[in-house]
Symmetry: C2
Subunit: 243 residues, 2 copies
C-alpha cells in the first residue's frame, strides 16, 4: 500500500477508548466544510481497544501500553496514512517512543489544546484542568505550556480525583454516561468555585458528557482542538497553498 | 502486517458517507457488552469518501465507484482486518466484484437487515422500504428476500423518490439533518398511510434522522443489523465455541 500523503489521509490511532474515537471522528466531520461525501477528509482508523490501561501503567500498577500502541499504529502505516493523531490524552505520555516507531508525522493533542486555550481564554488565564490521574501527575499540560503564555493551572484535589474524576471517566468508558456526567460535573463545579476562568477537558472521555452548554464556565475541548488541526492538515495536503 | 483473524478485527469499508460510518461504529459499541475499553471489539476503518457517487453510477450518469472501493478495502486488508463490512446499502450493488478483489470474508448488509425484518415483523409482513433510487431500482432488497418469508414490499412512488427521499438523503450527507428529517419523515408517513406494517431503513443516511421513536411504525435499521452481526462475528473469533 502506498502512503497517502498526496491524498491527505489522516490516521487515527484510536480505541482509547472507542467512544472517544467516534467522538473525534465526528468532530473532524463538523470541522470540515463539505456539502457531499466526496468533500470530506479521508481517514483511516485503528480502533483496537486491547491496549493496557494507560493510567495504571503510569502508576506502576500495570503493563506498558506501548507495544500495543505501536502495533495498532503500524496498521495505520500499512493502510496508507500520511499523518497519525491519537485521541487519548494519557497515551501521549508515550509520545517520544511512538513517533520514531511509526515513522510518520504526528500532531500532539496537548499542543493543539494549549493553542486553543491561549486563543480563547487569553494569556495569563486561570485554567481548570480535568484529566486522568496520570495526565495530571505527569505534568503533561503544565510541562508543555508555552513559556510566554502565563497560563495558570488549577487542578482537582486528590480527594476530588479519587471520588469524582476517575470514577466519572470509568463510568463513561463503561457506557454509563449519566453517572459520568454527574461525577465529572461535580469536579467542574469545584474548579469553578476555586476561581477557574476556563475549563480544559484534558481526557477524551470527558467531552462525551460535559460540553459548552452544560459546563459552569467556558470550555476548551482537547478532542475538538486536535480534530480541527487534523482537518486543516488534510485540506492543506489536498490543495497546497501557492508559495 | 499479519491478518487479525485470531483477534477478530472487523474491517469497516466506510466513508459512504462518513457520518453513516460513525453511526455504524457507534451501533457496534452499543451492541457490545463491555465495562471497559479492553472488552470492546477491535475495528479498523477505511473512511475514504472520495468514492464516486453510487446512485449516479447505477443510473449510467457517473463513473463506477468500484476501483475506489477496492482501493479503500485494500487498506483494511493491509491493516490486518479479518472481515469486511460496508455500511452503505447502494455500494452492495458492486458486492459480487468486491469480495474476490479483497480476498476476505464479508457480511452482506441486506441479508443482515432481511433476517431482522423476518424476526421482528414476521413472515408475510408488508414492509415499506426507504432507500436510494439505485437500491430500489436494482431490486437489491426484493431480489435477496428469502423465498419462504412471504415478505411484501411497498416502495415510495417515483414522485416521492424525487421530492422527498433523494433530497432527504442528500441533505443528511450535506450535514443538514433537520431538512433531511422533514423530507424523509414525509416519505415514511406516505408508506404508513398505504399500509406498511414496518419500515426498513435501507440507506445508511436514513437512521441518522429517523428512528424507532420518531417513525410512525416499527423500524428495522439495516445499519444496526449489520453492526450486531459484525460484533457477533468478532466475539465468536475471540472465544470460539467448543465443538
Amino acid at each position: 500500500m502506498q502512503h497517502g500523503e498526496g491524498l491527505g489521509v489522516v490516521g487515527v490511532l484510536g480505541g482509547m477508548g472507542p467512544l472517544a474515537t467516534i467522538d473525534f471522528m465526528h468532530k473532524m466531520l463538523k470541522a470540515t466544510p463539505a456539502a457531499s461525501d466526496q468533500e470530506h477528509v479521508p481517514v483511516v482508523v485503528s480502533s483496537i481497544p486491547q491496549v493496557a490501561d494507560r493510567t495504571a501503567a503510569f502508576r506502576g500498577e500495570g503493563a506498558s501500553p506501548l507495544a500495543a500502541m505501536v502495533a495498532s499504529g503500524r496498521r495505520l502505516v500499512e493502510a496508507g496514512a500520511g499523518l497519525v493523531v491519537m485521541p487519548c490524552n494519557t497515551a501521549h505520555l508515550w509520545w517520544d517512543e511512538l513517533g520514531p516507531a511509526l515513522g510518520l508525522p504526528m500532531l500532539h493533542l496537548v499542543d493543539a489544546a494549549l493553542a486553543e486555550v491561549v486563543d480563547r481564554a487569553g494569556a495569563g488565564a486561570r485554567v481548570g484542568l480535568l484529566a486522568t490521574d496520570a495526565t495530571i501527575a505527569s505534568g503533561l499540560y503544565p510541562n508543555r505550556t508555552p513559556p510566554g503564555s502565563g497560563l495558570q493551572w488549577l487542578l482537582p484535589t486528590a480527594g476530588e480525583m479519587l471520588q469524582h474524576v476517575m470514577p466519572g471517566i470509568a463510568a463513561v468508558k463503561a457506557g454509563d454516561l449519566p453517572t459520568g456526567r454527574a461525577l465529572l460535573g461535580q469536579a467542574a463545579d469545584a474548579l469553578a468555585r476555586r476561581g477557574a476562568q476556563a475549563l480544559l477537558l484534558g481526557c477524551t472521555e470527558i467531552p462525551l458528557v460535559i460540553d459548552a452548554d452544560s459546563a459552569p464556565l467556558p470550555v476548551i475541548d482537547a478532542t475538538g482542538a486536535l480534530a480541527r488541526r487534523a482537518v486543516a492538515w488534510s485540506l492543506a495536503q489536498r490543495a497546497p497553498l501557492a508559495a
